[in-house]
Amino acid sequence: MPVTFTFGEMLSARSVIGSTLAELGATHDNLWVITPDIGATLVEFRDTYPDRFVDVGLAEQVSVGIAAGLAYDGNIPVVSGMLPFLSMRALEQVRTDVCYPNLPVKIIGTHGGLVGNGGSTHYAVEDLSLMCSLTNMTVTSIGDPVMVGEVIRQSMDMQGPIYIRLAVGKKDMVLYEPGQHEIRIGKGIVARDGSDVTLFTHGTTVAQALTAAEQLADDGISVRVVDMWTLKPIDADLIERCASETGGRFVVLEDHLAYGGLATRVADVVADRGIALTSFERLGIPQVYAGFGEDEQLRDKHGYGLTATVDALRRAVAPVPATA
């Protein structure tokens, strides 16, 4: 029985992964779950379908290789773990064993961005850039915990691989009322409409983007927030429409390196389609190894926290000073 949630509630995206996979295990007898020792939230699946659950221990490479072997034999494997390791230590297995033969392997993980206070060994900040460069890979980054379940369900019918990025996934804000938006892989969500500037974002910073937009509304600035949760394939039509409907003013906010992630994906569309912009600013992690600190502290320190977001949006809509 699906549980409904309310906007603003806090919910664990990890528990949604666990419950969704356990639910899907009943209807998909070829669904397997493989984890490199990160299976605490997969207990229900493990206990119900022990012969389709594999915990390989601390071994990311073989977790992806096994998933590919299972997929070759007609199964739907999910690899669940921490993304810094699945996206980098096992990168070549993801590319060669999964993407090259275009197998339906789902990589679902936590610790996307500067989250969890683990230090730079434990932050996945290059992952979207790496995954977007892989042929056949669909790349997503999800902030709303309820959406996670919906996307996993949709991904069951996909022919090729998908990468699903979460933040820590322990306590995430429900962003959307059930049924409020159409959730479709490859389509962005206009999380808040606005006409002065578009703020593109994904994952854990969607909530921050909505807060920034709310603050600016008090000053009469109308910010459109687009949750571009599918980075690949990117919703190019939506980007083009936003350019014409919000004065060609774009700000991109993401918990990822400022170059290589969503900002780069958006900039590529702008260049490829010859879209004329008035302004373009990217807020994300500069080329630093970020150090310790809580999520919000780190975002502030590295220039993409709430204050920086509000400031960037103000700059975007500020009148261009007349040249002397």
Partner: protein
Amino acid sequence: MTQTVLDTEPDHSVEELEDLAYELRRLLLNLCGTYEGAVHIGGDLSVADILTALFHRGLRIDPNDIRNPARDRFVLSKGHAAVCMYIAMAMRGFFDYDDIVATYGQLDSAYGMHPCKVQLPGVEASTGSLGHGLPLAVGMALSARHRRETHRVVTLMGDGETGEGSVWEAAMAGRSQKLGNLVAFIDRNRQLMTSFAEERVMFEPYPDKWRAFGWNVVEVDGHDMRQLVDAIDALPDPTSDVPTVIICETVKGKGVDFMERNLAWHAGSLGAQDLERAMAALEASRNKEAH
């Protein structure tokens, strides 16, 4: 489920298999003499006997029914031996040898340096990057076990590639998952691309390493067809719990004296003159062994 009868080829005698391995080497050299680019001739020649034993006796497969779920799966982990596998499979009826020779390495050919399942559905997996075959085989063996199917999943690795950490991750996983349906052949030719293995990497005590990982270890002369056949015939029941590794002592370049244990012949091409020389060496080697 009605199981389609596989293994349409009768069991060959050891002598017949030896003849087939000789023919495989001859066809391999012939392709190297036709194709202008480099072929991994050294590592191809070292696995010619193993691939012959597998494709003409060990594997339950049917070239006319390549997707039969009951078939044994074969993953060529040392993907650079692709051309030897293509020809071994052609001799078994999967592909047309003339087609391989006519198109090898060319634009839009299904046959190239490393096997691609997308281009050539007759092979089980796309391989080439080393250390990937055993993890794939573990996944396939798990799937078979889950379906209560009793086919085997067989992979062939070079000893050099077992320097990759992923191999040992998979060795642990295969034993932990109790996959008696998993079989790894190792082409123990003791050569890397640019050096003799033990000069650079201490692999020994090699069989003990596999024993320490809990595997059933069998050691054979990888060029002795009788020993290969006996090892295959003695494989444990696929429903058992312990995976098997068959460590095959081999010689890189085997059968062509000037290529044997010669670092220059990891990969190369044969002009008309070298082809003639290689063919003569192959025949001489055969005559020597026959006496």
